[in-house]
């Protein structure tokens, strides 16, 4: 056992949080059912890690919802939930180089060449309307063909055949660029698809380190120890030692095929895709592997990590220029991608408007930013909307930027992914008289709480 192992994390999290891990023994079909169960928990505002032990037609269990809660991520970092954003920011800047380990468990069973058959894995279908079964928790690992710097990121993978997957690199970040560089040299890009990873690796994969820093170094910082990595068998790449399953192969140069539709984080089916094609050379698995799935669409398993990362990056960026950032929230209502609420304690006039372009520049997905005073609870959207209703004048407090780089999956963006951006200054004018907010006497608040509790409320 290793503390960098998903199984260890699940076991320890379940012990620390009774009810935090649910083992389902009843048979569950790969056709929509596991996603439906995840959604039902979501409706009940519960986010247990779920191990589907009896998948119909497969001997391999599915682990799901590992990334669904702030509590699980806080546990992964070993901190309280309240400390999570600051600790995430702090550790993301502490790069630790990985260490190489021989004989990783994922080399226990290796299929190569014509024996490769991805359809033997329990690849689920998520929504009616999806084009095919999909891998959602496949972390793609590759190296920059020019510099050799490694990257890792999540991309949807459509099952197309025993050794073929469709892949969309629509986030247009490092993997997209590495593939473009390889293609310019007339080469396929070697890629490993890694499944079944500790949540810290998910946090690292989503990060934005400088171009010369690999995601494995970020993971080391988050673990506070070197990430253990091991060599693939058929391609020149290193992957996390404690992975459950590794699929080795290449993204083919100059090959594009239809991919999608797929239920995306936006809450819509997406037909937009970069339409790349991955060809598998080998499948490596540990003994009795777990197949990891990330719930599709707007479920927390899919979008919570994105929110956490954006909150951390926004906090880091804004704190450089504003001394008093109180809270940052990237809400599910904005698909954990498009919207950010930032509360600040104003100390100088104009700080709120100064901050707007800084927040929008953190991430090209962000398209609506609201800056609020520190008396507003950014995690309470009713409070945020009240501030907008009572502190905003549209002719002076709203800034828009037309035709900016946006998310290609945003259905309101152009086909090229261009989007307008909006910043709202919902703060009170600094240093000027403004309406006095209603506030109950704190002693009476405490008295009323006790009173209502005594009544059984």
């Amino acid at each position: 056992m290793s503390r960098q192992e998903l199984r260890t994390f699940v076991q320890e999290y379940g012990e620390a949080h009774p009810g935090g891990v649910l083992r389902i023994n009843e048979p569950v079909s790969l056709s929509l059912e596991h996603q439906a169960i995840v959604e039902e928990f979501e409706r009940r505002r519960r986010s247990p890690i779920i191990l589907f032990e009896h998948i119909l037609g497969s001997d391999i269990p599915i682990i799901c919802n590992v990334y669904a809660s702030r509590r699980a991520f806080a546990f992964a970092l070993g901190v309280d939930e309240a400390e999570l954003p600051m600790e995430y920011v702090r550790r993301m800047g502490e790069y630790i180089k990985p260490t190489v380990v021989d004989d990783p468990p994922f080399l226990n069973a290796v299929q190569e060449g014509k024996k490769v058959d991805i359809t033997k894995l329990p690849v689920p279908s998520y929504y009616p309307g999806d084009g095919a079964p999909y891998f959602t928790a496949g972390m793609l690992v590759a190296k920059d063909p020019d510099t050799g710097v490694g990257t890792a990121g999540y991309h949807r993978l459509q099952l197309k055949g025993p050794n073929k997957l469709g892949v969309s690199l629509h986030s247009r970040r490092r993997m997209f660029e590495y593939q473009r560089r390889a293609e310019a040299q007339g080469k396929n890009l070697e890629v490993a698809i890694v499944l079944g990873l500790h949540p810290i690796l998910g946090m690292a994969a989503l990060s934005y380190p400088p171009a010369d820093i690999s995601k494995w170094e970020v993971a080391g910082g988050l673990f506070c120890e070197p990430l253990q990595i091991s060599a693939c068998t058929n391609i020149d790449l290193m992957v996390p030692t404690w992975a459950e399953i590794v699929i080795e192969g290449e993204i083919l140069a100059n090959v594009r095929e239809p991919e999608g539709p797929f239920g995306e984080f936006t809450g819509y089916f997406s037909r937009r895709s970069t339409q790349h094609v991955f060809e598998a050379k080998a499948i490596c698995m540990r003994m009795n592997p777990w197949f990891q799935s990330i719930g599709s669409g707007r479920v927390s398993d899919h979008i919570m990590p994105l929110a956490l990362l954006r909150e951390a990056e926004i906090r880091k960026a804004v704190s450089r220029v504003i001394p008093n950032v109180k809270d940052v929230y990237v809400p599910n209502s904005g698909a954990s991608a498009f919207t950010a609420y930032v509360s600040i304690k104003q100390t100088r006039p104009g700080e709120a408007k100064h901050v707007i372009p800084i927040v929008l520049g953190v991430d090209h997905y962000l398209k609506l930013v609201v800056i609020l005073d520190d008396d507003i609870d950014v995690f309470d959207e009713t409070d945020v909307l009240w501030a907008i209703a009572t502190r905003v004048q549209a002719d002076s407090d709203i800034i828009t930027i037309p035709s900016s780089l946006g998310a290609i999956l945003d259905p309101s963006a152009t086909a090229q992914g261009l989007t307008a951006k909006m910043g709202i200054d919902a703060t009170r004018p600094f240093g000027e008289e403004f309406g006095e907010r209603l506030k109950m006497d704190p002693e009476k608040v405490a008295w009323a709480q006790e009173f209502v509790t005594r009544l059984g409320g």
């Binding site: 079909s29 790969l30 056709s31 929509l32 119909l56 037609g57 497969s58 359809t119 033997k120 690849v123 279908s125 929504y127 009616p128 309307g129 999806d130 084009g131 095919a132 079964p133 099952l159 197309k160 055949g161 025993p162 073929k164 239809p258 999608g260 539709p261 089916f269 037909r271």
Partner: protein, 66 residues
């Protein structure tokens, strides 16, 4: 499973898509007695042969030339 099984399911899928446009989930629903993996393999064969197009809703339809 055998190639014969996969070919049989492939024919069923093509028949289904000939009768009406279908999502992948419709195929899974209509062929729910069949093994999930057999359907994946059969659908893979259909892709390789490029037998299907998509309509505006993203449903699979048999190519007119097929």
């Amino acid at each position: 499973m055998s190639d014969k099984e996969v070919n049989r399911v492939e024919k069923q899928i093509v028949q289904l898509a000939t009768s009406r446009p279908v999502f992948y989930s419709d195929i899974l629903h209509e062929l729910k007695g069949e093994d999930y993996r057999t359907i994946m393999l059969a659908f893979g064969q259909i892709r390789t042969k490029k037998l299907f197009d998509r309509d505006k809703q993203g449903r699979y339809v048999v190519k007119s030339s097929s």
